[in-house]
């Protein structure tokens, strides 16, 4: 009897060592949005070996997926990206039966315009695109995108190195809606962004939070989560959703068609939708959760932080960028002009 058991143990050990039964999961997510701690907790609980990579633009992630076998089982696209990937046929239709915690989604996220019926994606966190400033450098609290064109901060203004994000400011400062498909409006925004280069220190979408926290930059365009993370240690950094609107975004999880470890991907999605896990993730990444029961578990300083949960009236004014379709080419040509202008 005892021998049998030890034999079984060694067989299963061998099987484990040879990788035959070792479950894997390869996640590719926005940098700063899925905390390493959550990934580690998940790996510990399930025994799944998780490989975790990050990106700082939807486009980079899409490029890797459309180039063929990316090796990723779970991705975290923003709303318009879900539309593009679905149109390209790069996503798997989700089997809701495998996500028992799907019911935990808060009301506004149960039915989203970009993915009716949650066919391709499940929301994870949401946030805004605005700007942050350092009080040491900017004395009067700015409320408009215009401050990103202000010559008194020459060399100390940074824009996100991200085409659609930069165009949010370029379009809205002219009174247009972000994500427009009207050629004349995109052209006008391009001119504004070219003009802006004179005062820019640079473009940055990786460590813009550090730039404004260290004082290297006075003002940076940014996504609220990354900014809220540096605000936690440097209270002189303030985040603003501009009067012109800024934008609201939703990042969610989706499974690429080429995924090899589909069951594990479902397990992760379901795991991160548990209220206590979602709360921990939101607290660590300083982002707004889509799970109502998780919001109730968050500490007061997160829920009351307007950089994370902006006031309702601000949100109503924010633009929600959807797939711009063929206008993509207009944005790309405009962005190339912006980047090459001297």
């Amino acid at each position: 009897m005892k021998n049998w058991r030890s034999l079984l143990t060694s067989v299963s050990l061998i099987a484990f060592a040879s990788g035959a039964s070792a479950a894997e999961l390869n996640i590719y997510a926005w940098s700063g949005e899925v905390p390493q701690e959550i990934v580690d907790d998940f790996a510990k609980e399930t025994g799944i070996t998780v490989t975790f990579d990050t990106y700082d633009s939807n486009e980079t992630m899409m490029a890797k997926l459309s180039a063929g076998a990316s090796g990723y089982d779970l991705i975290e696209p923003s709303q318009y990206t879900v539309q593009v990937l679905a149109k390209q046929g790069l996503l798997q239709e989700l089997d809701h039966a495998k996500i028992p915690n799907l019911g935990n989604l808060g009301a506004p996220f149960k039915e989203v315009s970009y993915d009716p019926g949650q066919k391709w994606s499940v929301p994870y966190i949401w946030g805004t695109t605005g700007f942050a400033y350092n009080e040491d450098c900017v004395k009067t609290p700015p409320t408009s995108w215009k401050v990103l064109w202000d010559p008194q901060y020459e060399g100390r203004i940074y824009m996100l190195d991200n085409m659609l994000a930069a165009y949010i400011a370029g379009l809205q400062v002219n009174g247009f809606k972000a994500g427009t498909t009207t050629p004349a409006e995109i052209e006008k925004a391009t001119q504004s962004l070219i003009e802006q280069k004179k005062v820019l220190g640079g473009y940055n979408s990786t460590n813009f939070g550090d730039l404004v926290a260290s004082g290297e930059a006075c003002i940076v365009q940014g996504w609220n989560g990354n900014i809220a993370q540096v605000m936690a240690t440097n209270p002189k950094v303030k985040y603003v959703v501009p009067d012109e609107g800024g934008s609201m975004w939703i990042d969610g999880f989706a499974i690429p068609k080429s995924a090899k470890n589909v069951e594990e991907a479902y397990r992760f999605i379901d795991y991160i939708m548990r209220p206590e896990v979602a709360a921990k993730a939101a607290n660590l990444s300083k982002s707004a959760t889509v799970i109502d029961k998780a919001k109730a578990l968050l500490p007061k300083e997160v829920v009351e932080n307007t950089a994370i949960y902006p006031p309702e009236d601000k949100l109503m004014k924010a633009d929600f960028i959807l797939d711009v379709g063929d206008a993509t080419k207009l944005y790309q040509d405009g962005w190339t002009k912006v980047k090459t202008a001297q």
């Binding site: 980079t60 149109k87 290297e216």
Partner: protein, 286 residues
């Protein structure tokens, strides 16, 4: 089997591993890039194989031309700066440093064991507003406000100089190191001033090294990606950045491939020119 044939077979067998890896890792990838540059592109980033010149036609539109001129200009200025700094260093190590020559060469090369991005990040720390240089200058009372360095053209040049200094120094050093010292003695005996003997003996003899240095700096400088982004703030993009933008941001694989092919073509032309000039220099000498 004759001895000659056996020798040939032997050579082939010995060359096989390097030939195989060159074909697998160099020739085939380049052919793939060339094939993609003729592929068709759809709005959502899919590339369909075919034969179309669309990408090349698009490439020579006006919006991309400034990137070519930016790149050539940056490469040219970087090469000149590298030569101005690198030549004296090479000269000193080869002809004046004596027994410290080996040590100096090692000191020049050791930092290059560290990853490129890490070294460039170090420059960001040095050149930042609160960085080492600004703090030192402020501390000494030489300036009242921190000087802005990151995100400027000179910062990019500093990065380029730092990145390409060893590839400038080494070939020039090699040329000068092999210099027959008796030639300098002869020049001296014949009444040449040190300056004259430098311009008429040393410098002409170091030319092959200088040309190699130009090649080693100019060609890779056009494809540099990280330096303009990290030290220049990403405000002035060159061909290396354009390729990344086209592949990763715009998902336009055919156009990205076409830019790569053009960059490859420019590099090849430069290398061919270099070989020609080198040959004429060698012939003139013999």
């Amino acid at each position: 089997m004759t001895a000659a044939r056996r020798g040939n077979l032997m050579t082939l067998a010995l060359l096989a591993p390097s030939l195989l890896s060159a074909v697998l890792l160099l020739v085939i990838p380049i052919l793939i890039v060339i094939a993609f540059s003729f592929a068709e592109q759809d709005t959502y980033g899919g590339a369909r194989f075919g034969f179309t010149l669309t990408s090349y036609r698009e490439l020579f539109q006006t919006i991309y031309l400034p990137i070519f001129t930016n790149s050539l200009q940056l490469a040219a200025v970087s090469t000149i700066v590298c030569l101005l700094v690198g030549y004296p260093i090479a000269y000193f190590i080869a002809l004046r440093a004596g027994r410290y020559a080996g040590l100096l060469l090692a000191l020049l090369l050791i930092p290059f064991w560290i990853d490129f991005i890490v070294r460039m990040s170090a420059w960001m720390v040095l050149l930042g507003r609160g960085g080492t240089i600004n703090s030192a200058l402020l501390g000494l009372g030489l300036i009242e406000q921190p000087i802005r360095m990151i995100g400027t053209y000179p910062a990019v040049l500093v990065g380029m100089l730092y990145a390409f200094l060893p590839t400038t120094v080494l070939p020039i050093h090699a040329a000068l190191n092999g210099l027959d010292k008796r030639l300098l003695e002869a020049a001296d005996d014949l009444g040449a001033t040190p300056l004259q003997s430098f311009w008429r003996v040393t410098f002409p003899l170091s030319l092959p090294g200088v040309m190699a240095a130009i090649l080693f700096v100019f060609v890779p400088a056009m494809g540099v990606y990280a330096i303009p982004v990290l030290l220049g703030g990403g405000k002035s993009i060159i061909l290396g950045n354009l390729i990344v933008q086209l592949f990763l941001d715009f998902r336009n694989i055919p156009l990205g491939a076409a830019v790569s092919v053009v960059l490859l073509a420019i590099s090849s032309v430069i290398i061919v020119c270099y070989m020609r000039v080198l040959r004429s220099v060698e012939e003139a000498r013999t």
